[in-house]
Symmetry: C2
Subunit: 351 residues, 2 copies
């Protein structure tokens, strides 16, 4: 298996994976449709484990307790309740005996490195349609714990500089399979957006003596962009929201990484995910969306989740300038989301 | 008409237009479809000039010569050959007596300014479907001259810091009307990507004594990413291409702005646009695409056009990290494009 390549733009600090492992020819694009996800045999449904690579983590239920296991051929066991597997078409992959990443410059304009890393899928439930917007809270807790487990494992790898956890919902938001799942990509460089966040939060910490995100959450909790909160988490629409109805979820307690979450906080995080994504579904008729975790284990950083509903198209202006147009003021978005989060909370309580 | 607002992210150098003028409610999104552009009455077709705001520039043909005019009520004349009009739903707009832009900080985390500027549409032909991929070269020359005219006019405005010229082709690439048209947006700040390009090219100029883009074009012309050239322009796929089959077009002669193009170069630019976009259509069955000009009248800058075919979806990973995955190596893309540009060139010559 040839290694994918990570390339840097001629002059911008912008990296792209040239994914030769997923290489496509012109004819592969002629049938591109933006409709629904295909309904063939689902490789993520129980009983179809042979259609996926062996699992990297499996949770099973044993005498009412969750047991993590990979022993005794259980990487393909059929009674799993959460299952992590390598992505069949990885953007980043490991090679045995590979040395840590090194940037290769063939000329001053052609920088590249091997796309070393990991690309995994977390199958969130044995139930095909148990997406976070409708999931049992107990199931969401399992998913969060599985993310923590894989994050912990992947963090220990020498050449891993960043771990991106994300979720694509709906075909037009890039989900190629409709079974409830998230993805984890571990990269050998710090991606641009996170790098800029890290630098800004470090500068703020050095000048103000506190976390910039703690300050932002404090201000936004009192603003007209506030949506909802529980004991441990706050949701609000960001001031310079790029997407209609975009919202962010922050832990109230300062913590740089999801590994710092207590069991109680895991419970509360499951709750805000359920209320938030259920509320989004309720307000906008189950819209496609993307969701990304921002996590960086540095003391001045503060992990959080950003949810991007896919209701508009980034076109020539956005792509060529890096400037954006959003037709829904975040204050208006917060008003709608506030109501639907509340309805979702009530519905959840009555069950 | 209330003014749109331009807002800066809490900590990132990332700006978004909060376009209240185009404000939408949740219910506006429930019927969003990604199918074909609607076929109602086309406001850009001749005879429907009353459906658009008065033109800002009109070309008419008079005794075989092109005449620019706006006099005598001709802003709604019906025998135009190219027509520029204000966008009916502008992201940026001017206000009479408005002072130059000033950044307003309500708190340290809430920076904004009025979205002062211009947002225009260039109707590229009286013929509904005369897109650049099939256009007469003579018509494309008119379009380029119209872009030059509007660029020149808008550049003279005090608060304009950047002028973005772009084109969206196909509904899934954000074109809301199918009549051949481009757009021009003049912004009161320098957008992120251009700002980073400008800084990098300035640094290179200071250390190497020449234009960084001239060096890049020189190297890529000899590489396996080279596609096609004529006397004045070169097309190649960029080394760290973000999009499958993305290609860039550069003038060979060093020039920072399109205003420096000679008549001969306008002719040659029309040719490479026709061959390039025709070749793209030929290779990939008329794919949706976005196209953006990068123009900055600073001596160390070098204007160019970037074409982004829309064949993949930017999802959770790309949106939350600013890092990208491209499944078509630019060297493979160049191979396919090289052949189809050549076929297009031959077909054009035979007409």
């Amino acid at each position: 298996m040839s290694q994918n390549e990570l390339r840097k733009d001629y002059i911008l600090d912008r990296w792209v994976v040239i994914a030769s492992q997923r290489r496509k020819r012109p004819s592969d694009f002629s049938t591109v449709k933006t409709g629904d996800v295909k309904n063939t045999v689902c490789p993520f449904c129980p009983g179809n484990e042979h259609l996926t690579p062996p699992a990297t983590l499996v949770y099973v239920l044993e005498d009412g307790n969750v047991r993590k296991t990979l022993e005794n051929g259980e990487s393909r066991c059929k009674d799993w309740i959460v299952r992590c597997i390598p992505n069949l078409y990885p953007a980043f992959s490991a090679e045995n005996g590979q040395k840590p990443t090194r940037i290769f410059k063939s000329t001053s304009f052609h920088e590249s490195m091997k796309a070393l890393g990991f690309h995994e899928v977390i199958v969130e439930s044995p139930i095909h349609g148990e997406h976070p917007s409708v999931a049992r809270k107990s199931q969401l807790k399992l998913v969060i714990n599985a993310i923590k487990d894989r994050f912990h494992y992947l963090s220990s790898k020498e050449y891993v500089k960043y771990i991106s956890v994300f979720r694509n919902h709906g075909a037009s938001a890039g989900a190629s399979l409709s079974h409830a799942h998230s993805q984890i990509i571990a990269t050998p460089i710090l991606p641009k957006i996170v790098k800029e966040e890290a630098e800004a939060s470090k500068n703020y910490y050095e000048s103000e003596g506190r976390c910039v995100f703690c300050s932002i959450v404090e201000e936004e909790s009192k603003s007209e962009r506030f949506i909802w909160e529980n004991e441990s988490f706050t949701a609000f629409t960001p001031w310079a929201s790029l997407n209609p109805f975009e919202f962010w979820i922050f832990p109230k307690r300062h913590q740089s990484s999801i590994l710092e979450m207590t069991d109680f906080e895991v419970e509360k995080f499951a709750e805000i995910l359920r209320v938030g994504l259920g509320g989004l579904k309720r307000l906008l008729n189950d819209p496609p969306y993307n969701l990304g975790f921002h996590i960086l284990p540095e003391s001045h950083y503060h992990w959080h989740v950003e949810v991007y509903p896919k209701l508009a198209i980034w076109a020539g202006f956005e792509k060529s300038t890096g400037m954006f147009i959003n037709t829904v003021p975040p204050e208006d978005a917060a008003e709608g989301l506030k109501e639907s989060f509340k309805l979702e909370e009530d519905a959840l309580r009555e069950r």
